[in-house]
């Protein structure tokens, strides 16, 4: 028999770690299966529905994304300037360096996290309400494939408008960072507003990230909505799962693309 202390301090955490792992694996499998179904149903997408979803994800998140990215830009430039003042005392590379970081990393990731919160929760609430009121089954009865009708337009709409809103968010963050740097630390306009550090591979990485997030956020959120069970409470749980799941997916893809970009640049 295992001594009690060992079972409490070692085996139980290990067991719960294993349970989390199994649970996570099942969720990932379900999302990937939904992704496969989306790929199979791709030819049946209606352009009007795609535009509608692209508008929902992009245009209607504009205000939110602009506000958040304005804060992000100011925060980052202030932090970076404080550090640069302490170490090198040269603030002229803040602007172009920030631009490169924005393009490669922060604009796609933070905008996608915000979209996951706003659009992802909305998708899960809408699809979850349809699921628990059996409207999805009704669609199936009318021999309308729910996935091509509900999920495919959202995924393609996300793919269309996520890169666009990432560009808007990045631009806002860059400008607000410039304002914070100019009025807080006296960085000159001409030394801040330079894009010389950005090379084509940075733009490629940023674009790939934005496109991948544009697919991942609607896909995970649709999965969360469609797997809602049990009345209004289930819909609430679905929205939570959508926000958490798509945020984790964004961070994971960010890590994968970042590592892939690093390896590709070394070659």
């Amino acid at each position: 028999m295992v001594p009690i202390s060992a079972s409490v301090f070692f085996l139980r955490p290990l067991a719960s770690l294993g349970r989390w792992g199994q649970w996570g694996g099942r969720q990932v499998q379900a999302v990937l299966r939904l992704g496969g179904a989306v790929l199979r149903n791709l030819p049946h997408a209606e352009p009007a529905a795609i535009w509608q979803q692209a508008r929902d994800l992009g245009n209607r998140s504009m205000f939110f994304v602009v506000v958040v990215m304005a804060f992000v830009g100011a925060i980052m430039v202030v932090q970076a300037s404080m550090q640069a003042q302490r170490i090198v005392g040269d603030l002229s590379i803040i602007g172009p360096g920030f631009m490169q970081l924005l393009v490669r990393e922060f604009a796609p990731t933070i905008v996608a996290l915000m979209i996951a919160a706003r659009y992802g929760a909305g998708v899960a609430a809408a699809l979850g309400a349809m699921q628990v009121t059996e409207q999805v089954d009704a669609l199936r009865l009318c021999s309308a494939e729910p996935i091509s009708y509900l999920v495919v337009p959202r995924v393609l709409g996300g793919l269309t408008s996520m890169p666009a809103i990432v560009v808007v968010g990045g631009a806002v963050a860059f400008v607000s960072g410039g304002l914070a740097g100019h009025f807080g630390f006296g960085i000159g306009w001409t030394s801040y507003f330079r894009t010389g550090f950005v090379v084509p591979s940075d733009v490629a990485i940023g674009f790939c990230k934005a496109a991948a997030f544009g697919v991942a956020v609607p896909l995970v959120s649709s999965w969360a909505g469609l797997s809602a069970r049990g009345g209004a409470r289930g819909v609430g749980q679905a929205t939570t799962r959508a926000v958490i799941g798509s945020s984790v997916a964004v961070l994971f893809l960010d890590l994968v693309f970042g590592a892939a970009g690093y390896v590709a640049q070394r070659w």
């Binding site: 804060f71 925060i75 932090q79 490669r104 990393e105 919160a117 809408a126 609430g236 970042g258 690093y262």
Partner: protein, 273 residues
């Protein structure tokens, strides 16, 4: 406003478009002001119950377990990604300039001060804030809140104050755990990608960072916990319109929490220092 009878201004812009834009702006402004006022009321009423403390201590323990302890897996996962992403992002520069002795330093600095608390806060608002909002909103829809008021039970004492306290404490504790996990994951990532030895990584971390760098993050965790608690309570108490309203309230809570978190972060970074 009808678009058909309106005068054309420019290439594709009508007078009615300008008016509807102004109208939308005003509506947004009013809605933002109403929500800010509601949150201030929630904050005031909660603080009022603090002196002398009147709250349900059993609910506090329950909330600490449900909000703090049960968020640990998702926070650990987020933090591990955070630490690794920080190392990966800096990897190009590190190789370009050969500054392998700075990896631990910049990873620790960015994770402790900014990115760690912020990402953990966003996850916390998505999980805990959303849960709190949907529960309060459901209670409102099913008139449980009114029933409590009829029984002369103060919902702030029994539910809201303990939970907001639990969010503040839980968030700070999660930031501490998350920072440790992020640094561990970052060290592993630096070892695998950049061949930075663990000793070198942690030496750079300890040499250049003081306890303040760590404590600023914990302080942010406390503030974010309060923000999420107040925002989620406001949207839960003010949900309207049946079961669809619960979903809308949760959605609005997640959005407002994100804006509030970045706003507080900005204040704590640049105004207060």
């Amino acid at each position: 406003m009808k678009a058909s009878g309106s005068r054309r201004l420019g290439v594709d812009c009508r007078v009615s478009d300008v008016w509807s834009l102004l109208y939308a702006l005003g509506q947004t402004g009013l809605a933002v002001a109403a929500d800010a006022g509601g949150m201030a009321m929630v904050l005031g009423r909660t603080l009022q119950r603090l002196g002398p403390p009147r709250g349900d201590s059993r609910e506090l323990v329950r909330a600490l377990k449900r909000y703090g302890e049960e968020s640990l897996p998702i926070v650990a996962l987020t933090a591990a990604f955070t630490g690794m992403i920080m190392v990966v992002q800096g990897a190009t520069y590190v190789q370009q300039y050969g500054v392998y002795n700075l990896v631990g330093r910049y990873t620790g600095f960015t994770t402790f001060r900014e990115v760690g608390p912020m990402l953990i806060g966003l996850m916390f608002s998505g999980r805990v804030g959303a849960h709190h909002t949907s529960e309060l909103a459901t209670m409102r829809m099913t008139e449980e809140l009114d029933a409590l008021r009829v029984l002369a039970i103060d919902v702030y004492e029994t539910l809201i104050l303990p939970r907001i306290l639990a969010m503040v404490v839980g968030m700070a504790a999660l930031v501490v755990f998350g920072d440790l996990i992020a640094i561990g994951a970052g060290a592993v990532c630096a070892r695998l990608m950049l061949q930075v030895e663990y000793a070198q990584f942690f030496q750079a971390l300890l040499e250049h960072l003081g306890p303040m760098d760590f404590l600023i993050g914990v302080q942010k965790g406390l503030a974010y916990g309060l923000v999420i608690g107040v925002v989620s309570t406001h949207y839960g108490l003010n949900a309207k319109g049946g079961s669809a309203g619960v979903g809308r309230a949760v959605n609005a809570q997640v959005v407002a929490s994100a804006v509030a978190l970045f706003w507080v972060d900005y204040l704590m970074t640049s105004v207060v220092r």
